[in-house]
Symmetry: C2
Subunit: 443 residues, 2 copies
């Protein structure tokens, strides 16, 4: 694969990893399901996208999982890929989509029987955005796209910047009495405790932190890490035991909220409870000796790469006001954001580019995209949750967290996700049928 | 405008030139006609796209002519732009389309009243391809596109490589008795005359060349230059006196063919007649003292830039066989082509990229594009000449040369071009109506 699809000065190439399964594939009237890999190791996404495996037989489908450049083993400049902004210059969604296009062309050319088959793009989260954008930009390559939990409108001013944290808060509010209030009150408790050296020491001990807190910067970092934990819990609030970002019990927010039912405790008691709650997320397996506030999720996600992407194209405004949400108020400060990006990566974000290139809310002239969103998923706030046209369809899953529908079928799946999946399959079958019908008309 | 829309390492910007006319523009129910500039000075295209001026009042339209980067005065690296392949790295159609998108967003933001108006892309030749591709890739930016004489299928193996020269030949065959045969025979006559030094001398004199021929390489060059002259005549075979590539009489091929009606003359007599024919093209004004075989067209076209583009993305296979056409046989040799590109620009062409990124023949999921083609125009061989869907429409103009429909109305216009233009206007009005109807529905 070319490192630069959009320029010709460098002729450099790199190896893109992809996984392929053709157990249920039929050469005659089959199809190709193409996972548009996102910001992480493709093997891990492959293992967390059971839906594709579950429907492979029904759709007579070959499964392809394409790894996104700069993640997993698809590193254009090997171990140097993140060393320098010159090496990172080719980490963009446009290059990734071009990779997918070139890969599909390659597979169709080299796999006997694949040439005249319909391809469907699938993806979740950023991968879901890529699936939708791929159908928009390369409709000649894929007959349709399933974009699960894809916040394609979490850019510019398309949605209010507070929508994300409001949904997180709502999840906690619904999962246990006083749960969101307790968290809301915890920030002040931390602030008060952190005022003295002994308070810092106590906090570090009470939260079993691997590295003790030393100053107010550490405390800010702690608060950010705790916030991210609640966010991640909202994303993976699945109805059964799972291991996506961390090993977790069924309905983890409910479990967490059991410890967070009394917002009126003393600061110290409140923080003891917060520790119990965090411990569910970070130590469900009981293996962790201490909590490491520099990590929140699986290492299968490429945080470096995403940090760069967030500093260039993927500028998603977030804010909180502490009233509609349970977090400390924080406005969206683009200038500060941009300065941080420049410090870290030597680049400045272009916040209007994504809507310029992918259309913002004005996408009605496209077709054959299913947008699915779980109502528990904070990302649904930036997602497409209403039908746009007959063929740009929204499916919402009231009991669904982040792309629950893409996960393997499970005995504890709520009915709504089963319905969502069967609707998704119906759309995909329709796209496949339409494809073969138009093929026949040509001959 | 950013020099690189698809990467973030360089934050460099440049000034893109555009021309704007709002004499007939209405803020209430008007429209914006946006010329997607091609490989040349935008002022010159503006002066040769009278159609837009002719319909401005009827469509209450603002006219915008956007200059393509690396042409005219829109040079990202000033006078150095062509010095080095590193500077040329940003000369691609994808960057040009992104320029147009950013410019439209800018105009809508800064011109009061423009924000909620429908934009229509128009262009001819490569500019026509850009207009079509712009609607395909940025359908949220333009409600439709008029792509005049746009050979979007003259890539890969989408059409036979001989189709272009066959149409050129057909034009000459139809324009005078024995005309194409005479040209066909001229190549052998040149070869025979060029065998001796005195023959070379005689040829140089007979053709009034500014620089005498010295060797067989010069003779090859001469043949190429003559071929290009016939090609250009086919492109600008307009029904009235005009000055597009050169000042010319009405139906110039007919005029030229008057000198080319006897294929059986002696070699010397044949070449005397060829000179008379060439002289029509190069010296209609009577000002030229001699013919310069290193020039064929107006300097308003950026031949350097186009040469680079042809060596990267814009790989159009051409061939002749001397049987279906009047030229010396020459097969399409990609290896040789690529080596020449590497020598000249230090880049290698990627012949499959354009069809990968813009869809090749598989464009039926797009909408609202009118493809117009003149049957006299050799580029029509790679154009869309049949309707693809109800909203991807082909209009053919039997008496039309290269984008005749985009030229200013003229008393000598054939009926077919008048019909074509009125159809084009009807489509544009429909797009504008649909746009305002959907706007009203939203509120």
């Amino acid at each position: 694969i070319k490192v630069d699809h959009f320029g010709f000065t460098t002729d450099k190439t790199f190896k893109q990893r992809y996984l392929l399964a053709d157990e249920h594939w039929k050469k005659d009237d089959g199809s190709i399901l193409f996972y548009t890999g996102n910001e992480g190791d493709i093997v891990w996404f492959c293992n967390n996208t059971g839906f594709m495996w579950d429907v492979a037989e029904e759709l007579k489908a070959m499964l392809v999982f394409a790894e996104h450049r700069y993640y997993g083993e698809s590193l254009p400049f090997g171990n140097d890929s993140f060393k320098d902004s010159r090496y990172l210059n080719y980490l963009t969604s446009e290059q990734a989509l071009a990779d997918f296009a070139v890969l599909i062309k390659y597979l169709k050319r080299t796999i006997p029987g694949a040439k005249n088959q319909p391809v469907i793009a699938l993806g979740g989260s950023y991968g879901g955005m890529l699936a939708a954008w791929f159908r928009m930009k390369y409709p000649h390559m894929v007959v349709g796209a399933l974009a699960a939990s894809a916040p394609i409108w979490h850019f510019g001013n398309l949605v209010p910047c507070g929508v994300f944290m409001k949904i997180v808060t709502e999840d906690f509010r619904k999962s246990g009495p006083n749960c969101s209030e307790t968290i809301h009150n915890s920030w002040g408790a931390i602030t008060r405790l952190a005022r003295t050296g002994s308070g810092l020491h106590w906090l570090s001990e009470a939260l079993h932190l691997c590295t003790p807190l030393r100053n107010s910067q550490d405390v800010q970092h702690l608060k950010g890490w705790i916030s991210e934990t609640w966010i991640n819990l909202a994303m993976v609030d699945y109805p059964y035991e799972s291991n996506f970002l961390q090993p977790l019990p069924a309905w983890p927010i409910k479990v967490v909220c059991k410890y967070l039912n009394n917002p009126s405790l003393s600061d110290a008691q409140l923080l003891e409870n917060i520790f119990q709650a965090l411990n569910i997320y970070y130590n469900y397996s009981g293996q962790a000796r201490c909590l490491n506030i520099s990590e929140t999720t699986t290492s299968n996600l490429g945080t470096q790469g995403w940090s760069y992407q967030a500093c260039t194209e993927m500028v998603m405004p977030f804010c909180t006001n502490g009233i509609d949400d349970m977090f400390e108020p924080r406005s969206w400060n683009f200038r500060e954001y941009s300065d941080d990006c420049f410090k870290q990566w030597g680049v400045r974000p272009r916040p209007t580019w994504i809507t310029t290139v992918y259309g913002g809310r004005n996408i009605s002239s496209h077709s054959n995209i299913v947008f699915s969103n779980g109502e528990l998923d904070p990302w649904s706030g930036g997602g497409v949750t209403k039908d746009i046209t007959d063929t740009l369809v929204a499916i919402t899953i009231p009991e669904g967290a982040h792309h629950l529908d893409l996960r393997a079928r499970n005995a504890f799946d709520p009915t709504t996700v089963l319905l969502a999946r069967s609707l998704e399959v119906r759309h995909m079958k329709q796209w496949i049928r339409d494809f073969y019908a138009s093929q026949r008309k040509k001959h």
